[in-house]
């Protein structure tokens, strides 16, 4: 299964490197949303709760774009049928798609987070960096697991573009709560980590539940 998953992941990363479709679009989208927030809130710099809220809402909205494109290649060219014919575990497809989404989100954040500190964040990010990395990693894991599941559900519906955001965003509310609350003290003027263990614990619980659940139900989405 690991071998098959790695092969699918390599294919997805290669497609992304050649077509440059999802990651640049998601990154550009985050920058646009920062500009929207700047004018919408009429603020030059943000700190604390407002900053962490803007950062996380932007990242979740960018994730929606990635999720709606996740099965585009398979859908347009019948890749799923090929996979079903091959003697590999179907969970491999889920693992590969979630891993691809995880890598895409990391790539987006590589630009989006520095851009955020540059454009909107008032206090510097220096000391809080390792904590923020942990929050981002756990957040990405949860988004990747749920995103791959939602993308697979939405891929077979007529109203695909509608279903992805409507389904994904409410499911991500607990993740948003945990990430935003954990990030908030890091972005304050004289900030440092606060209650970090509680929110990282909640994030871990969320990730474990949805990774296991997605692996358990994913098979039924491909049964044909």
């Amino acid at each position: 299964m690991i071998g098959a998953a790695r092969a699918i992941l390599r294919k997805d990363v290669q497609i992304e490197l050649r077509t440059k479709e999802s990651v640049p679009a998601m990154t550009l989208f985050t920058l646009t949303v920062y500009v929207l927030f700047h004018f919408g809130l009429d603020r030059d710099t943000l700190a604390g709760a407002l900053a962490s809220g803007v950062l996380w809402v932007t990242l979740l909205l960018a994730a929606v774009i990635g999720v709606s494109r996740l099965f585009a290649a398979e859908r347009e060219q019948g890749g799923v049928d090929g996979l079903l014919l091959a003697p590999v575990d179907r969970t491999a497809l889920f693992v590969a798609k979630a891993a691809a989404l995880f890598l895409f989100l990391c790539a987006v954040e590589l630009v989006a987070v520095p851009a955020f500190t540059l454009l909107l964040l008032g206090p510097g990010l220096g000391a809080a960096f390792p904590e923020l990395l942990a929050i981002l990693a756990l957040g990405n894991l949860g988004i990747a697991a749920l995103g791959a599941l939602v993308a697979a559900i939405a891929a077979e519906t007529r109203a695909r573009e509608l279903i992805v955001p409507l389904l994904l965003l409410p499911l991500l509310v607990p993740l948003l709560i945990a990430c935003a609350q954990a990030t908030e003290p890091l972005l304050r003027q004289d900030g440092g980590p606060e209650d970090l263990a509680r929110w990282l614990g909640l994030l871990t619980l969320y990730d474990v539940v949805f990774v296991l659940l997605s692996v358990a139900v994913f098979d039924f989405l491909l049964e044909d």
């Binding site: 109203a159 279903i163 389904l167 499911l171």
Partner: protein
């Protein structure tokens, strides 16, 4: 097939709900701080508990569907979610009325239970567009079941997350220590809860019977058309 016992169940529901209303207005004492308005509690809270129970039941039926491949379980799951959504509208409206009367605002964000309920309600509303945008009936049943299971697991997680995030203001009705309700209010509440649960089961069976009958009618019409 689904209509078995529907009539006695309907009567039991009517009797229990009438008894609950009688208890609410003639037996339960007036609340010391909130007065008469507090009586909406006997509608709001049982409705919320039954709606959440219905969402969870939808998830359990969906698991049975995916395990057995029997589509009648998907129908049970669908109808359970459908009835819960209808009750959910009632929960949000009565919650808003209660919030207005006791805190002065129609909506209070620092009340974790109401906010969690809204998030769950918004998620389950997506069940309809998802279900009806898949044409193939077999696939429709499977995808709906996957949704019902995912959302069912989401319900408790969401409550934990929102409760951690918000200030703790909601009165807890049933807790390990026996809650904060005096005896006569507790009895009234439990009868109202039983009535609401019976109402849920009655509506669920009624809707299943109606759906089953209309599907059979369609099948017979098709057969008649083929024969003609």
């Amino acid at each position: 097939m689904y209509s078995k016992g529907l009539v006695p169940l309907g009567w039991a529901t009517a009797v229990t709900l009438t008894a609950a209303m009688a208890l609410v207005f003639f037996y339960a004492p007036l609340d010391a701080d909130q007065g008469f308005v507090q009586k909406i509690f006997y509608v709001h809270v049982p409705m919320a508990i039954v709606a959440l129970g219905g969402f969870i039941a939808g998830g359990v039926f969906a698991i049975r569907h995916l395990r057995s491949g029997d589509r009648s379980w998907d129908m049970r799951s669908y109808v359970a979610i459908h009835v819960s959504i209808i009750l959910g509208c009632g929960v949000l409206v009565t919650g808003a009325i209660w919030a207005k009367a006791s805190w002065g605002h129609w909506w209070v964000w620092d009340e974790p239970v109401l906010v969690s309920f809204l998030v769950v309600f918004l998620l389950y509303c997506v069940y309809y567009p998802l279900r009806f945008s898949i044409e193939d009936p077999d696939r429709q049943a499977r995808y709906s079941s996957v949704f019902a299971i995912t959302a069912g697991a989401f319900v408790p997680l969401n409550f934990i997350a929102v409760r951690l995030a918000e200030a703790y203001t909601h009165p807890r009705v049933l807790s390990q220590t026996g809650g904060s309700l005096p005896g006569d209010m507790r009895l009234t509440f439990l009868v109202a809860l039983a009535g609401m649960a019976l109402l849920f089961v009655t509506l669920w069976k009624l809707e299943l019977t109606a759906k089953h009958a209309s599907m059979q009618l369609k099948r017979l019409r098709n057969r008649a058309r083929v024969a003609a």
